[in-house]
């Protein structure tokens, strides 16, 4: 069996409770988005899944193995793409990938074959023989993704994989992620760019203040009132029609049209029918924000346990950015 199962996991650094109570599971063949605001504990959670941090409490199973008790078994099966982009600065892209492959026990020949394959996959061929320190952030991000895939793992943990990527690279990342899921791999992708996740994730884990949202809370948030954007060829008529229909007090009119809060999809269908019925030329009628964002904002509004205040003591996760490129190494 594959997949990720997390139950009641907690981890503190001194008196900073980065993760308080995380429970979720991801089945093989699925892409789960790990969603949460900055400092929600996403990276800490991923470090625990990647066998780098031991949880204080709770259990983790990756493809049926415990990262604390059997780290080796887990490491064989996971590919981890960290948020901090480290690379051996003086090695070439090809050497760096081949070295990583050899760290997973591949022979020299198999490792260089695999490196060549991955260079094509992440589209770094023109840079394959340049030292990694010359890579831009987006290129490093792709190298990092290639390294996570180097031993063809069953479970992929991607921490902010899309940050720094240009639109074309984002599109190919999306495609790659969906294809890997199609091959039966389990993917957990963290991001706070929700539109990005919306397109690749088929399930979501919401994390705020170190606590994952319970399934019923997510379902409730999904059903809760949300904003719908309505556009019309004739904004004045739209405004009048909304006021006549009793939305005058709650609708927000701006130069793009109107934003109307509606409590359910049924209400939305009804309003649309009404507007069309009274002759408003509606050109667009859609949720103002994506599903993930809606749930995320709603859960945040519902007041999760307050995020622990930041502290300078032990910060194993950081949004402080990557190490400066080209650091001096003797």
């Amino acid at each position: 069996m594959g997949g990720i199962t997390v139950e009641g996991v907690a981890r503190a650094f001194g008196d900073v409770h980065a993760v308080r109570d995380a429970s979720f599971s991801v089945e093989p063949g699925h892409v789960a988005g790990l969603i949460g605001p900055n400092g929600a504990g996403k990276t800490t959670l991923l470090l625990m899944l990647a066998t780098l941090l031991a949880p204080d409490a709770g259990t983790i199973r990756i493809a049926g193995h415990d990262p604390v008790a059997e780290p080796r078994a887990v490491r064989e099966r996971i590919g981890w793409m960290p948020d901090a982009l480290g690379s051996w600065p003086s090695l070439t892209v090809r050497d760096a990938l081949a070295t990583s492959a050899r760290m997973y026990g591949l022979t020299r020949d198999a490792a260089s074959a695999r490196a060549a394959e991955l260079i094509d996959l992440v589209d770094l061929a023109p840079l394959a023989d340049r030292p990694t320190r010359v890579l831009s952030r987006g290129q490093k991000q792709r190298l990092s993704l290639a390294r996570a895939l180097v031993h063809d793992p069953d479970v992929l943990l991607l921490d902010e994989p899309a940050s720094g990527l240009d639109p074309a690279a984002r599109a190919s990342l999306r495609e790659l992620v969906r294809r890997l899921a199609g091959e039966g791999k389990t993917l957990l992708v963290s991001s706070h760019v929700l539109a990005e996740l919306e397109e690749m994730a088929d399930t979501a884990v919401y994390l705020a203040g170190g606590v994952t949202a319970a399934a019923d809370a997510v379902a409730r948030a999904g059903r809760s009132a949300r904003q719908w954007r309505v556009r019309s060829l004739d904004p004045l008529r739209l405004d009048e029609a909304l006021t006549a229909a009793g939305f005058g007090a709650v609708a927000r009119i701006d130069n793009l049209g109107a934003v109307v809060p509606l409590s359910s999809e049924a209400d939305a269908a009804q309003l649309l029918a009404h507007l069309v019925g009274v002759g408003v030329p509606v050109s667009s009628f859609a949720p103002a924000v994506g599903d993930l964002e809606h749930v995320f904002l709603d859960l945040n509004r519902a007041g999760p346990p307050p995020a622990a205040p930041g502290s300078d003591a032990a910060t194993p996760f950081g949004d402080s950015g990557p190490a400066a490129p080209g650091e001096a190494r003797a």
Partner: protein, 360 residues
């Protein structure tokens, strides 16, 4: 990766590959060779080495290489682990099948091999000293071997500290301080310790009463000369025998003492190593707190001087414990301890993180 060694060697080659592609290492090596060249040239001119067989030149060059080696080695090893952590490459290695032990040992071997290149670069100069003549092959082999071990121990301390301390600058500095403590601190400890623990020596002197002798210098009665009443003198003396362990832990002493002693026909050492070894070993012996100098008993009618049973340096050397063994063992423990501690701190999944550090 087949077994422990395969994975460890991968880390070693990765580390070395990165070093040889940097410029810093070549610059250091160049400066090093230049300095050794200058020192050798000056030594040859200063000591008249063409005539005395090169023993002095050899031992001084070995010391100079040790000095430079201990100055360079911390810089090469002191950021091995925390530097990787800063660069963000430690965690990506630790999620692979490379174990923490392979990582730490690999880093150490790489730092050691790098330091050994400095020793290798100085070998031509040692060979030159040997070519001058009288240095025995055993002395050369053992000096170079012990020098290599000392460099390995400093590399181990540097790598160990780089795993213990979070900031590379701090761990490099602390490694330098450890080297300074071993090289200079042990001398201070030895001197101050010996001076602080003093004991009183009671020396009794019995002289010949020359005025009672006849004009030819014969005793008036029988064979024995008339003696003066014993004079007793008391003075404090440092108990170096209680603190010689400090000196044994000095890397220079280790190198000097490990070389097989070579002595001339009067029992005096031939090279710098020998003198240091004799000095260190004579410190092992407790001072004679109740010394009797009986000149009267040693008197001979012929007037010949019978030396009281003082020892030649060679005799002192031979009846003492070889201190290099103790010193090297202390150093090895220090290095192994540092590596083991670094290993336990770097192990993942991490349970406790030192303040201010991060896993990735």
């Amino acid at each position: 990766m087949s077994g422990f060694l395969g994975g460890m060697w991968l880390i070693v080659t990765l580390d070395l590959k990165q070093r040889v592609r940097g410029v810093a290492w070549y610059v250091l090596l160049g400066v090093f060779v230049l300095l050794v060249t200058i020192v050798t040239a000056l030594l040859v001119l200063a000591t008249n080495a063409w005539d005395d067989g090169g023993g002095g030149v050899f031992s001084t060059i070995v010391f100079f290489v040790l000095l430079l080696g201990t100055l360079v080695s911390p810089a090469l090893s002191g950021n091995a682990i925390n530097g990787e952590r800063d660069a963000g490459t430690l965690a990506t290695t630790q999620v692979t099948l490379i174990s923490t032990a392979q990582l730490v040992v690999g880093k150490w071997v790489a730092a050691w091999l790098t330091a050994l290149t400095f020793l290798a670069a100085s070998l031509p100069f040692l060979v030159f000293a040997v070519a001058l003549g009288q240095v025995s092959a055993a002395t050369i082999a053992i000096s170079v071997l012990v020098l290599a071990l000392e460099l390995g121990i400093i590399a181990a301390i540097g790598v160990g500290l780089s795993g213990l301390l979070t900031r590379p600058l701090f761990s490099v500095t602390v490694t330098y301080l450890v080297v300074a403590a071993l090289s200079v601190g042990t001398l201070i400890g030895f001197g101050l310790g010996g001076a602080a623990i003093q004991t009183t020596v009671r020396q009794t002197y019995i002289g010949v009463d020359w005025r009672e002798l006849e004009e030819e210098g014969n005793p008036p009665v029988g064979e024995r000369p008339p003696c003066l009443p014993p004079e007793v003198r008391e003075y404090p003396t440092p108990r170096l025998d209680l603190v010689w362990g400090f000196l044994a832990a000095n890397p220079y002493v280790v190198v000097a003492d490990a070389a097989p002693g070579s002595f001339d026909e009067f029992g005096s050492p031939r090279d710098l190593f020998g003198w240091i070894a004799v000095g260190v070993r004579s410190a092992q012996h407790a001072p004679d707190t109740d010394a009797v100098i009986d000149e009267c008993a040693d008197w001979r009618p012929s007037g010949e001087w019978v030396s009281p049973d003082t020892q030649t340096p060679r005799e002192i050397y031979e009846r003492s414990v070889p201190s290099w063994f103790v010193g090297l063992a202390v150093h090895a423990l220090l290095g192994a301890g540092a590596l083991a501690w670094a290993w336990s701190r770097t192990r993942v999944p991490a349970k406790r993180l030192p303040a201010g550090s991060r896993v990735a």
